[in-house]
């Protein structure tokens, strides 16, 4: 009798629990799980304008493998990763450490570095487009003072991609810095005191105490930056004019996906591209999860 009562209570609690997470779960199901399944499903169809579809089997995947423009955009994406991820993470770590020191105007600097994160990408892109403008941009003026030659920064082949990368780093540093700063502040002051008594220099304290103890935050920052860079889209979309000569040399996979889906109405093919990117990101992330055992301390 007593046992039964206990069970009813437990069941009641469970019902409450499920009831509480239901709204969120419904939201996830409609806007998250359904689209994921739908994209995988669509990748096996030819989906034309106005959702007209015919079954295509593996045709989209076969076309994708033969599509030079797709591989080019995938290559661009990895160039972005190579450029953006290390710089964002290292800069964020250095800034977090510096802004953890006791100094005047510390809060002002924290806000300044965080501002790009809360600014609209469109506004940022507009501003940088003027800075990079080949005829009137301030960058060419500054380069001119030092005797450098002018460039059409956003129209020339290798430079345009680097410019997009620079802006992405500038935008991404703030948020990662805050996460790392929170991690650093969670480290007990006693470690530092002990190290100081032992005569460790600030640099030594940074590498021997701070870095090992914030590896969980560092791992998080690294993983999320990597994933978001593999999905880079909005900065390119806003900074490189749709009719730019540099488009082919700067577009990422997601950008190429977007153009296929929404400009050429090839949604089935676009879905196949999305699935490929999904597999790539999943593989890289799984690898990271495996490797973290070697360098991340969770206690």
């Amino acid at each position: 009798m007593r046992k039964k009562g206990h069970n009813t209570q437990k069941r009641k609690d469970m019902a409450w629990g499920y009831g509480m997470i239901l709204p969120l779960f419904l939201g996830l199901a409609v806007f998250y799980f359904y689209p994921v399944v739908k994209v995988i499903y669509d990748s096996f169809f030819n989906v034309g304008a106005f959702d007209k579809r015919t079954f295509a089997g593996l045709e989209n995947y076969k076309n994708m493998i033969a599509d030079a423009a797709m591989w080019k955009s995938l290559g661009n994406t990895f160039l972005y990763v190579a450029l953006i991820v290390p710089f964002t993470v290292i800069l964020a770590l250095i800034l977090a450490e510096l802004l953890n020191q006791k100094m005047k105007g510390r809060d002002v600097f924290r806000v300044i570095y965080f501002i790009p994160t809360v600014t609209m990408t469109v506004a940022i892109a507009m501003m940088w487009r003027w800075i990079f403008n080949g005829d009137f941009g301030i960058l060419n003026h500054i380069v001119g003072w030092f005797g450098g030659s002018s460039h059409y920064w956003l129209s020339e082949k290798p430079i345009a991609l680097i410019c997009v990368g620079v802006v992405s780093v500038w935008m991404g540093v703030g948020l990662n810095m805050i996460i790392l700063l929170a991690g650093i502040q969670g480290i007990s002051a006693s470690y530092y005191e002990a190290a100081k008594i032992d005569g460790a220099s600030p640099v030594r304290r940074f590498f021997s105490i701070t870095v090992p103890l914030i590896t969980p935050s560092l791992f998080f920052v690294l993983t999320t930056t990597l994933i978001s860079t593999l999905q880079i889209f909005d900065v390119i979309y806003m900074m490189i004019a749709p009719k730019s000569t540099a488009l082919v040399d700067t577009q990422s996979v997601v950008m190429y996906f977007f153009r296929n889906a929404f400009e050429y109405s090839k949604k089935g093919y676009a879905s196949a591209i999305a699935v490929l990117l999904f597999v790539i990101i999943m593989a890289i992330t799984a690898l990271q999860m495996k490797l973290q055992r070697k360098w991340v301390n969770y206690d």
Partner: protein, 435 residues
């Protein structure tokens, strides 16, 4: 940070690349769902009380014409108390994405704007209301509009849209720079060689001034010279970039680039040619009639010293101008096709076209009122635009089979305009992809 939290967040981000695939239509369909929400109780209300007006949603891309639609709405609602027009402007860059998503989702506006690039897709997709019967039973006479405009919105014998305006291309020039270079202004007898000479003389003035904008442009660029040269671009699912006449119509622009008479392709991409012309940096530019509003505006430093002439004759003695214009189409899924037609009929009629001409925003497609637009710019020789439409206009090219053809052409030809490859190499690359 907890290990499990890191794992969950990372897993969610991994999936979000697929999520992104559906995010756009997902969001848009919620947008349109909220848009159509007020219409639902409206519909039931109409059934109960017929006095309640029917709502007709009118979607278009935002442009200087917005003021015209607002005036038309006021006038139309006064004469049609049973119909209420809901204006739904969208930025040009998002217009087509939004229209297609809304059409697929069945929540598209009753009446919407169409252009020459997209009409084939929409007509072929069966999402437009055929207008033949409506036109037959109304006062609309298609002979009042340029034939090229009617043809553009006619798909396999069915009329799917009625043009509102049309535009052709002319040669604008900066008189001050011509005077400084000591050369005569362009005339109707001008040939491409005359244009090249003038461009050379103006470029020689130095000081970052160039003779002409010779960058990659479609409607206001090589399309015109290709047609004038006897070349062709698209015919069904075949493409004309192998034709030597087509290549010659592109080569003449690249020659200007090579000679250095134009700002570089990169410069023209980063700072649009019309802005450079308005800043007094260019001697000549190919522009449509709608640019008169910009060139005469307070932002233009050349408003008082520029004018427009006919496009030059090519070496074969021919000239050509691309003609294009937007049209109103009715959605096949509209719940109120008759009321939607009433609005389209009004916009196609004399009153609306007269207003459009008088406002000086675009050339009204109703040819009788075209001259009203030109009268808004008495300082410029605007009549060359109607002459172009009547005497040597070519319909804006479009392809149903290859929606990506324009991107392929742009990608390859921009390399030629940037002087990285020759025109022949670029055209061969185009045919490799489109052949």
């Amino acid at each position: 940070m907890k290990k499990s939290i890191v794992f969950i967040l990372a897993a969610m981000m991994v999936c979000s690349c697929l999520f992104a695939g559906c995010a756009v239509p997902g969001n848009t369909s919620t947008d349109t769902a909220t848009q159509s929400e007020p219409a639902a109780p409206e519909a039931t209300a109409t059934a109960q009380t017929p006095a309640e007006p029917v709502e007709i949603h009118y979607a278009y891309w935002a442009s200087p014409m917005d003021a015209f639609y607002a005036e038309c709405k006021t006038a139309f609602e006064a004469s049609h108390p049973n119909i209420k027009i809901i204006l739904e402007p969208t930025a040009w860059t998002e217009y087509w994405t939004k229209l297609e998503t809304a059409t697929t989702g069945g929540s598209v506006a009753d009446v919407f704007h169409m252009n020459g690039v997209n009409i084939l897709k929409y007509a072929d997709g069966g999402v437009l209301l055929p207008l033949n019967d409506y036109i037959g039973n109304s006062s609309v006479d298609l002979n009042n509009y340029p034939k090229a405009m009617n043809d553009m919105y006619n798909y396999k014998g069915t009329q799917f849209g009625i043009a509102m305006d049309y535009d052709t291309i002319g040669l604008w020039y900066n008189k001050t720079l011509f005077d400084q270079a000591g050369i005569a202004y362009p005339t109707s007898d001008w040939t491409w060689d005359d244009l090249t000479e003038a461009a050379a003389a103006i470029t020689a003035l130095g000081n970052d001034i160039y003779g002409i904008a010779a960058g990659f442009e479609e409607q206001a660029g090589f399309y015109n010279t290709v047609f004038a040269n006897g070349g062709w671009l698209v015919n069904g699912d075949t493409f004309g970039f192998d034709d030597p006449n087509t290549r010659a119509g592109i080569q003449c622009w690249v020659d200007l680039m090579k000679a250095g008479y134009s700002p570089s392709e990169a410069s023209l991409e980063e700072n649009a040619s019309y802005l450079q012309f308005m800043a007094g940096k260019l001697g000549m530019i190919f522009s449509g009639d709608w640019m008169a509003a910009y060139y005469s505006s307070a932002d233009s430093t050349v408003a008082a010293v520029c004018d427009v002439a006919e496009l030059p004759l090519m070496s074969n003695g021919a000239r050509a101008s691309v003609i294009h214009g937007k049209a109103n189409c009715i959605s096949a899924s509209s719940a109120h096709p008759d009321e939607a037609w009433a609005w389209v009929e009004y916009l196609a009629g004399a009153e609306a076209n007269k207003r459009l001409g008088e406002m000086g925003i675009a050339i009204p497609s109703y040819m009788e009122y075209s001259s009203l637009f030109f009268a808004s710019y008495p300082q410029y020789n605007m009549s060359i635009y109607s002459k172009a439409a009547e005497e040597y206009s070519y319909t804006y090219p479009a392809s149903l089979a290859r929606p990506d053809w324009m991107d392929i052409v742009r990608t390859e030809l921009q390399k030629a305009f940037s002087l990285q490859v020759t025109v022949d190499q670029a055209c061969d690359a185009i045919m490799d992809q489109l052949g």
